[in-house]
């Protein structure tokens, strides 16, 4: 199941929720040139997950849901342009667990 919030996609597979870029966000921010993940693993909704500098925007990405970060797309640190990719396997940002399913279900369908 795939949802949309905070200009991001959130896709649920079993207990893992993958946060990834939407085409609209990619269009809005331009070519990503710098990526820095925040350090904390436990997130509330709207906590910063990533800071990026792109050709058109300096942007702090806010987590669409509360949860625990289990993986970050660290390849994007050395290759920020991955976040401009059309493929989810390249443009994902973080993977979360311990996400409240009700909160997830209330988000807008993607």
């Amino acid at each position: 199941m795939k949802k949309r919030a905070n200009f991001l996609f959130i896709e649920k597979n079993d207990d893992v929720y993958t946060v990834s870029m939407t085409p609209e966000l990619q269009d809005d921010i331009g070519t990503v040139g710098f990526v820095e993940f925040t350090v904390g693993d436990v997130l509330n909704a709207d906590d910063a997950i990533l800071n990026l500098e792109a050709s058109k925007t300096v942007f702090e990405m806010a987590s669409p849901v509360a949860g625990k970060v289990v993986e970050r797309n660290e390849a994007a640190i050395s290759e920020p342009g991955l976040l401009n990719s059309a493929k989810t396997e390249e443009n994902w940002v973080v993977k979360l667990t311990e996400v409240d399913e009700d909160a997830f279900n209330q988000l807008e369908d993607a």
């Binding site: 200009f7 809005d28 942007f59």
Partner: protein, 264 residues
């Protein structure tokens, strides 16, 4: 020292400090006080955030205090609310004597670096003094990356009549126009500034029209977002802040008048 002697000293210091100034700006002739003020302003605008000697600051602060206070200064008690705790005022934000004025900054957060550019960021930094760029530089160095859009940072306001300056970077609108993200970021700029003002327990905050002007946000839509976001913040937080919408252009005055009048 009178104002002219102060300017002569400051210009001399700034030219000595920056031998390449003539490559970064046009060094016009400086016969009159007005021309000297313009040259001083331009040299400060292009100046890197390097430390300055105490003597420079003393002379600069004396000059700016007099230059800033030659104008009509406006305080909260000069204004009538248009709604409870909301005010609308047309004029130059650098003449306001309130707790905090909001600066429409860019992501470098160092103030406008284009000599004598006619923007609010330039005007605020010029009249605050070189201390403001130094303070912003400290914040941005501590953060170690550019300032994101929709956030807010606070500094002292130095030689301005206000006490603090809250710096926010609004969204930039390009040829593709306004998008939901840009609207969200503009609202976020207003919200972040209000939250910071409350965190510092301020009594009054004056907003400029964030993202309009140089950043091309359409004036009507920007004003709608400004008013909606402020009203939402008041509802959500029960804040006691006095909030001034500062407009400069007649167009913005009319837009805010009709937005705020319809809700008595």
């Amino acid at each position: 020292m009178d104002q002219e002697a102060r300017l002569d000293y400051l210009i001399d210091y700034l030219l000595n400090e920056n031998p390449n100034a003539d490559k970064q700006m046009i060094l016009d002739k400086t016969d009159t006080l007005e021309e000297k003020t313009a040259l001083f302003r331009g040299l400060c605008n292009i100046r890197q955030p390097e430390p300055v000697p105490k003597k420079f600051l003393e002379v600069q602060d004396a000059f700016l205090t007099q230059w800033n206070n030659e104008r009509n200064i406006t305080s909260l008690h000069d204004l009538q609310p248009v709604q409870q705790q909301l005010y609308l005022w047309q004029g130059d934000i650098t003449t306001l004597a309130v707790d905090a004025i909001v600066n429409a900054a860019n992501s470098e957060l160092l103030g406008c670096t284009q000599a004598n550019h006619d923007c609010i960021d330039n005007s605020i930094h010029t009249r605050a003094g070189v201390e403001l760029r130094l303070a912003c530089n400290e914040l941005i160095k501590a953060q170690d990356r550019k300032e994101p859009m929709g956030k807010a940072k606070i500094t002292e306001a130095y030689n301005l009549p206000s006490s603090f300056c809250i710096h926010t970077v609004g969204p930039f609108i390009d040829e593709r126009g306004v998008s939901p993200l840009k609207e969200h970021l503009l609202a976020s700029s207003y919200y972040s500034c209000l939250a910071l003002a409350d965190k510092y327990q301020l009594d009054t905050i004056a907003f400029c029209c964030i993202s309009t002007g140089e950043f091309n946000f359409p004036n009507q839509r920007a004003a709608e977002i400004a008013v909606q976001t402020v009203e939402k913040y008041i509802r959500n937080t029960q804040t006691n802040l006095h909030i001034i919408f500062n407009v400069f252009k007649d167009e913005d005055l009319q837009i805010y008048q009709s937005l705020l009048a319809g809700k008595e």
